[in-house]
């Protein structure tokens, strides 16, 4: 076991998968000699050459389409979106080509799109967005969002080995802020399976990505006042792990859904509806959603802090729920 940052874990997964399988290659803007805007691919160009760590023109739809074409003839491309926000330029290729290939005409598209997403980095409206909601309503795609270095590595390996298009949401705020002891040997984290980040009995907090850490800190404070929180880290957002969600609801009977994505029509709305449809009788009180307000991500630190769900917001919600 060695201590590894979230960013190093992503890089290790890329490096190891490229060494293991010559069909794996990286493409995107500035991923080659420069090593990517966040230095995730630093050193890989020297190791694997300019064709397997492929610098593209500024052309998100073009290189995403190209990745799809390469995948159709047996490669396993990993696209780097410089910032997740730019994935909107590739929306058509992902939604109409990648997502529908297998259903429409039976062709597998083993494609990974790495999407550095999320706020708290003072990036403003075009460098801070959560993009999972854009794709959550697209059958045929898979979406994962690791919260730990362990999962960052394991989910990326699973995504690369998967035969479907996977949008891999890597949270920029976590890159160098969190570290885990991760195994030296090869492992993958299965797509479609949530994990219990913290076990508890009184309230379930269902979340993913950077918000897992917000939830853990809130849970520590709540524990001091005698409230035991169970935190579900979804890990995969599409398709949702229904079983893990319903199991925790049946255990605690109280639910807060927490995400950094804006509220309306978000992942939390779907989880709330799923719980209402499938285990309404188990609920002691309303399902509470804690999410960003329905605005673009603001730049100023004061406003960005108000935008991103905070520990105090979660504590207030849990305390309210405990009165039921």
């Amino acid at each position: 076991m060695k201590e590894t940052t979230y960013l190093e874990a992503i890089k290790e997964a890329l490096d190891e998968e490229m060494a293991r399988d010559p069909d794996v290659f990286i493409l995107g803007e500035d991923v080659g000699v420069y090593g990517g805007a966040f230095r995730v691919t630093e050193g890989l160009s020297e190791k694997y050459g300019e064709w397997r760590v492929f610098d593209t023109p500024l052309s998100e739809s073009g290189f995403t389409g190209a990745a799809i074409g390469a995948a159709l003839v047996g490669m396993r491309p990993v696209v780097e979106m410089q910032f997740a926000d730019f994935i909107s330029c590739a929306f058509d290729q992902l939604v109409n080509v990648a997502a529908k290939n297998h259903y429409r005409w039976g062709a597998a598209t083993p494609l990974v799109v790495r999407a550095p997403y999320g706020g708290n980095v003072h990036g403003g409206a075009f460098h801070s967005q959560c993009i999972e909601g854009f794709f959550f309503n697209v059958p045929g795609l898979k979406i994962v969002a690791p919260s730990t270095a362990y999962d960052a590595k394991g989910l990326l390996k699973a995504a690369i080995r998967d035969n479907d298009p996977v949008i891999y949401c890597e949270h920029k705020y976590l890159y160098r802020r969190i570290k885990d002891h991760i195994p030296e040997e090869d492992y993958a984290v299965p797509i479609g399976k949530a994990r219990i980040a913290v076990e508890g009995n009184d309230v379930s907090i269902i979340t993913y990505g950077a918000m897992v850490h917000t939830a853990i800190e809130a849970a520590q404070t709540l524990k001091e006042s005698g409230v035991s929180c169970e935190i579900i880290d979804l890990r995969t957002i599409l398709p949702l792990d229904r079983e893990s969600i319903l199991t925790t609801v049946k255990k605690t009977n109280k639910v807060v859904v927490l995400h950094e994505q804006t509220k309306t029509g978000g992942v939390g709305a779907e989880i709330s509806a799923l719980i209402s449809e499938s285990c309404f009788d188990y609920l002691d009180g309303p399902i509470i959603r804690i999410a960003a307000p329905d605005t673009p991500v603001p730049y100023s630190a004061q406003m960005e802090e108000a935008f991103i769900p905070q520990i105090k917001d979660l504590i207030t919600a849990v305390e309210k729920l405990m009165r039921y």
Partner: protein, 324 residues
């Protein structure tokens, strides 16, 4: 370019097969037997037959929707295509898709997405894969004149040109994008002028002369196959039907259609073969007879084939279902 007699006769056969198959589909549409629309290549068949026939077995096609000749040449049978039109289980996509939305990797044919020119970047990606793996295979990607106005046209052409990828871009310039004439689509006279901006060589050919299309494509494939990079081929032709069969195309001047009728690609090929004493009229008639029989058999096969089951709607979304 010397073209063998048997190849010339095959070109004629595929022109006839394409025309008769699409004519029959048009009749079935007007009889109400085809639920969706029918888009044909009528009048422009020499484009897809010419560039499709010039490919080698292991090459890849990233087609558009007036490419019936390519599907047939690659080995997707008239039977499967007719069943596709009727939404049968034995159709190319088993009823998941209709009409010309086909793709079959067994024959190196990528699926066609309606979002025109999505297949230029996708095709470029397959070419990139061939380059990475050092394979001597090429890609042919096709679009229409209208499709060259979209961003994906630009992005696909640019990536391929920058990296000298083994791909040939075909444009079926049939003068109209639905009802919009070329002069409202672009401010240039020839679509091929667009290639200049990417530093890509281009050719303009008579799109109604199958021999000319074939020869130009063949030559461009050899350049691409040997590391010379992409070529853009503009095939000037005329769409003789509406955008689809529901469209009477009253917006097209009748004189224009009369003028192009004289240049019909099948008529042209008959004159070429008989005039140059390559084939007797009787031999061509016997080819036509064979084609008629093939279409009748295809229709009977399609009519007798079963429909898919309603529960098939849930099958085949993912290549690797999550959690497996």
């Amino acid at each position: 370019m010397d073209i063998k007699r048997e190849d010339l006769l095959q070109l004629y056969y595929y022109l006839k097969l394409t025309r008769r198959l699409e004519d029959r589909a048009t009749s079935l549409y007007h009889q109400g037997k085809i639920l969706g629309g029918v888009w044909t290549s009528n009048g422009t068949e020499a484009v897809s037959v010419g560039y499709g026939y010039a490919l080698e077995k292991n090459d890849i096609v990233a087609p558009y929707f007036r490419d019936m000749g390519v599907f047939l040449i690659r080995g997707i049978t008239a039977k499967r295509i007719m069943a596709q039109y009727l939404g049968k289980k034995t159709g190319v996509t088993g009823g998941k898709e209709g009409n010309v939305h086909v793709g079959d990797l067994h024959f190196g044919v990528f699926g066609f997405p309606s979002h025109l020119t999505d297949n230029y970047p996708v095709g470029a990606g397959a070419a990139l894969a061939f380059k990475i793996r050092g394979e001597k295979r090429v890609v042919a990607a096709c679009t229409g004149d209208g499709g060259t106005s979209r961003g994906d046209f630009h992005e696909g052409m640019n990536i391929a040109a920058v990296r000298k990828l083994p791909i040939v871009f075909i444009c079926n310039n049939n003068q109209y994008a639905y009802s919009t004439p070329l002069k409202l689509q672009m401010a240039i006279k020839n679509v091929a002028e667009r290639a200049l901006a990417y530093g890509m060589p281009s050719k303009i050919v008579d799109g109604n002369n199958v021999v000319e299309v074939y020869a130009a494509a063949k030559e461009a494939y050899e350049v691409a196959r040997n590391g010379g990079g992409p070529t853009f081929i503009e095939c000037k032709t005329m769409r003789m039907h509406g955008h689809s069969e529901h469209d009477s195309a009253k917006y097209v001047p009748r004189e224009l259609l009369e003028e192009w009728k004289k240049k019909d690609p099948i008529l042209y090929m008959e004159t070429y073969l008989v005039g140059n004493q390559i084939a007797e009229k009787e031999e061509l008639d016997s080819i036509d007879l064979r084609v008629k029989k093939e279409i009748e058999e295809a229709e009977a096969f399609a009519e007798e084939s079963p429909y898919p089951e309603p529960e098939d709607v849930l099958k085949g979304l993912y290549a690797t279902p999550a959690g497996e």
